[in-house]
Symmetry: D2
Subunit: 363 residues, 4 copies
Amino acid sequence: MNTTADGINNKTFMKALVYNGPNSIVWEEKPKPVIKEGTDAIVQITTTTICGTDLHILKGDLPAITKGRILGHEGVGIIDEVGANVLNFHKGDKVLISIISSCGRCGFCRKAMPSHCLNGGWQLGNRIDGTQAEYVRIPYADNGLYLLPGEVEEEAVVMLSCILPTGLECGAMNGQVKPGDIVAIVGAGPVGMAALLTTQLYSPSMIVMIDIDDNRLKIASSLGASHVVNSSDGQASLKVMEFTQNAGVNVAIEAVGVSAAFDICQSIIAPGGRIANVGVHAKAVELHLEKLWALNMTLTTRLVDGGSTPMLLKMIQSGRLDAKKLVSHRYKLSEVIKAYDTFANAQKLHALKVILWNEKAGE
Amino acid sequence: MNTTADGINNKTFMKALVYNGPNSIVWEEKPKPVIKEGTDAIVQITTTTICGTDLHILKGDLPAITKGRILGHEGVGIIDEVGANVLNFHKGDKVLISIISSCGRCGFCRKAMPSHCLNGGWQLGNRIDGTQAEYVRIPYADNGLYLLPGEVEEEAVVMLSCILPTGLECGAMNGQVKPGDIVAIVGAGPVGMAALLTTQLYSPSMIVMIDIDDNRLKIASSLGASHVVNSSDGQASLKVMEFTQNAGVNVAIEAVGVSAAFDICQSIIAPGGRIANVGVHAKAVELHLEKLWALNMTLTTRLVDGGSTPMLLKMIQSGRLDAKKLVSHRYKLSEVIKAYDTFANAQKLHALKVILWNEKAGE
Amino acid sequence: MNTTADGINNKTFMKALVYNGPNSIVWEEKPKPVIKEGTDAIVQITTTTICGTDLHILKGDLPAITKGRILGHEGVGIIDEVGANVLNFHKGDKVLISIISSCGRCGFCRKAMPSHCLNGGWQLGNRIDGTQAEYVRIPYADNGLYLLPGEVEEEAVVMLSCILPTGLECGAMNGQVKPGDIVAIVGAGPVGMAALLTTQLYSPSMIVMIDIDDNRLKIASSLGASHVVNSSDGQASLKVMEFTQNAGVNVAIEAVGVSAAFDICQSIIAPGGRIANVGVHAKAVELHLEKLWALNMTLTTRLVDGGSTPMLLKMIQSGRLDAKKLVSHRYKLSEVIKAYDTFANAQKLHALKVILWNEKAGE
Amino acid sequence: MNTTADGINNKTFMKALVYNGPNSIVWEEKPKPVIKEGTDAIVQITTTTICGTDLHILKGDLPAITKGRILGHEGVGIIDEVGANVLNFHKGDKVLISIISSCGRCGFCRKAMPSHCLNGGWQLGNRIDGTQAEYVRIPYADNGLYLLPGEVEEEAVVMLSCILPTGLECGAMNGQVKPGDIVAIVGAGPVGMAALLTTQLYSPSMIVMIDIDDNRLKIASSLGASHVVNSSDGQASLKVMEFTQNAGVNVAIEAVGVSAAFDICQSIIAPGGRIANVGVHAKAVELHLEKLWALNMTLTTRLVDGGSTPMLLKMIQSGRLDAKKLVSHRYKLSEVIKAYDTFANAQKLHALKVILWNEKAGE
């Protein structure tokens, strides 16, 4: 009865995490979403999680996101309803939700760059309501969902909505990591860890993880970093140059989004090297072209496209990628405020990705 | 008699343009260079020219270059003598000199990146004496010279020592210009013009040339720019966005080396676009990652490698590239100080590349 | 009244070119097509043309194509009707029809390889009725049509349905033509000429055109070939090796679809070279791996994807590509049988592309 | 005293494996090689091995190789003497010998394609005497040798002369293996196993190994193949299609050099897939263009360049690549005839790579 938006009578409600302006979020009742376009699907969330970008939003760093927006762009769920033009999915399907909405018809989509889809892109929890809710409306469902086999572990798969494709596409792929390369990753938070996991798909000979938190560095070692550097003392670049006999690194991945992290990348990159920016930056940084102009280096930025999601799903299913290693905490969806609190105090609480599972799903 | 350096008696002399510290150059007598390594050649310069980078040196922007250095890294000449291990050249050969010295044996040379050769790179007029002289010593001559047929026009070919490969490799190739692309080039000086000529080898649909000098923009139009913008009023970015219906450009080539030019590039680049830095920068610039982080853009820097020189030579010889269009003035080599003066006042004197021909060559 | 297929009463009729089995085509009355899916559009053809592949079909070389099929996969027309889910087009729009139908939702479409779309690919005049008719049904219209400005020349633009993207994508792009390359094109029929025109977008230094027909070779010279070779005497490879001082060619484009043409490509390719097969082959060929195994060469095949169509349209509109040069003959659509006859006797009648214009369009 | 070739008195002798025409090799006394060019080095072999290509030579498949030639192009040794122009090596250095001689000065070397070096390429055991001897002359030593640290395992490192770079460059790299790809390797001999080991550097999701020998398939499983297929029954293609739900494979690597193996590759390749030929073929094969013309596939051939050797050395040293797994048998160098016999009966004797160690080295 909730498939049309035209009557007050048939409106049903759900609970959702709503952004209330800088530093304010509430878990409150909202109308359950309805199909607006024939290409939409409504998905009941079973598992979702929180992204570092959600914290940026909460701080007010992304001012285009307005009060009242339901946050979240990651999730696994069950299809509740599909629009008339959804070809590939049906009610009851278990699906993975991609952060990126892709119309499949614009110039960017047709060039395999849906992050800048003229009708989509990063919509969920940004320009439209997101996944930290009991239900979510997914535009262009055929291109924004992936069918999951029944037996998959949701905690692992939900890492494919955003964090692992981001680490892979914006980090490892943009950094063009090749076998034998020396890679440095600045920032051992969730997205840095995602870059660490996915970089290994290309067999670098050395991965140096740089962070200010020894606990995270310890985890990084267990996830495959060959070297770790605590940058608290401002000597990280010197140490990396030592590790590399002053040759520098082939690939530097910025996974923080602040000037200091970007500076380390600039100071350790080898001739012919690639700096892959993954971090969400709120301010301009200094680019040292007076040194870099002659270095034959490449710097990339990227909003994740999600084109790698089907491949990553295969890697999880074949046991070659252990995505669950990124999960540190678990909460009920109704405890989402507490989960944000944990995630915002990640260093103190040793948090990486925080899983939210919908205790009411399946009811 | 000048092949050993060990005796005062057999030393012969030549005239050369010598850097005397910031803002000071002199045309004076210097010992004629001699073979130091078996892989060297001595070349009598017949034609040389001045690079924008020479002006940077003269201003003191490249402090590694010390007093007493003979400047110049471009030239055509006749081989006067070869070392015992030079395989491909002989006395009397007419040759083009490459800016880059390449040992052919280090890791960078073997990856086709001789700009960072561990034993070479940009040596001439930088770490060793250069080509604005009657004679020059060329290290690793087999890899630093190109044999010229007798009938070639030296004025055209000398553009292949540095300026055209720089425009092509650092600009068009690093910018990955493709047929149909929209390209903006900021800076209509010699290297910007070289980028303009070589960008057309990839058939962009639109080339916007941006400069503060109307005369240079007029020349740019005649060399193939489809649109020109005088940026004196600070509105260049707005105009480019208008030309492109707010889509921005696929490729922005920075061919000046100053912050303002780099800023234009940042503000007009389309999602998925490439900024190719060609300019020699003396200071850091601001990089607006707060806007660019999500733009899926690529920024490159590069010291020219010269790998494209043989191809460009073929294009000149087959009449498909008119390199002489870059030449605006001609002087005798002994008038090199006057030539520097002309080149330093390029805007006022409508100068592009200034040719120096050695009136004593062949004597 | 023709939008449903369910009643005999509302069926209207049109004229169309129907394949009647090997060597038999008829111009006859057929039901006007109707919308079957919400993503369909019905287009009234204003201009169409005949492809070399249509001749292959006619000969029976593509046995999957069955009796009763309306042929043709090229066309320009006016939209007569759109399905409920077509977002980008409206009745009355002037459109270019792409040979390729792309669902925009399958793995191949999302990797920018719609030629192998799981729900589309090359459908028109192959698996569904085609464009050599007064009306045609276009599946996935949003991805299979391109909006044309009113003033465009239909004869030029209809070359973008298939022939020019084929020459470019399967020939020049797959052959990775780069500035300065030496390119040989075997076959100076329409698709070879399309390869010739589009190869020039990448500025090769030499293009050798090879055919058995002197008239076509003369046209090739006028379209930009720097060398032509008549291969009737079986000496084509020898001549190409002479032209190249025995170095061979960087790129060899097979644009015929027979063993003899493929053999020439194999025998002239340089180390590191690329053979780009464009021709439609009815039989296996011999591949001389006993010589090629050590040659570091690349061989590609491809069904056109059409991804280059928007770029080519820009090039035509900006006057940088003169597609009309491929047109040799013009007929009324109702004279299509005569047009096939002309096209099938191309050598004798000096035919390249044969335009068919619908004299009843606009009525 | 053996550095000049001009006197009978100072000639010293060594033992070497000499090709005596088809099916005939002898272990006999030969003059110890001497420096001919300043860029040469003489290396005392400590470890060498036999390549599948050596068996091809022995069969007479490579007729350019003439009677009297010392065979072998793989080896580790100690430098005995260097020419005057060798810059990077000294007497006593432990070195790895590359199959490829590279002058570092020709167009191919400067494009990082030394396999086709105009002055080198595959010389050893082919156009000049090779490494299955007590001493060997290495031309262009600076580019043909790699310095080894003292502690390295020679059995592992000798796999970098040819077999592992061949598997990597001609197989995995030419096949453009990407994370998640499905790869089939036809042929589980040494070079197929090398392709298997190096393909894993790119993290495919599935590797199907195909051979007629169950023992080799068992080893392949232990080296990382996820699926194995015995092709004796002619059903290999069917099985691969089953494994892939009829999608076919992204990459097919031909590692045998016979028509039947190439046929399997052709029949299982997916749209957009790559066939990488590694095998040395003595005869032409049939290429099924009647099916492949529309498949958007790429086929490559390659003589190894060896550019990957430094990277592979790093991978061995960091413990990420276990090259010794390829070794099945060990003989003294003086037992080389017996070793050939073992290698020629590989299937029966369960042989992969056969190590030859020079019992007289160090004396």
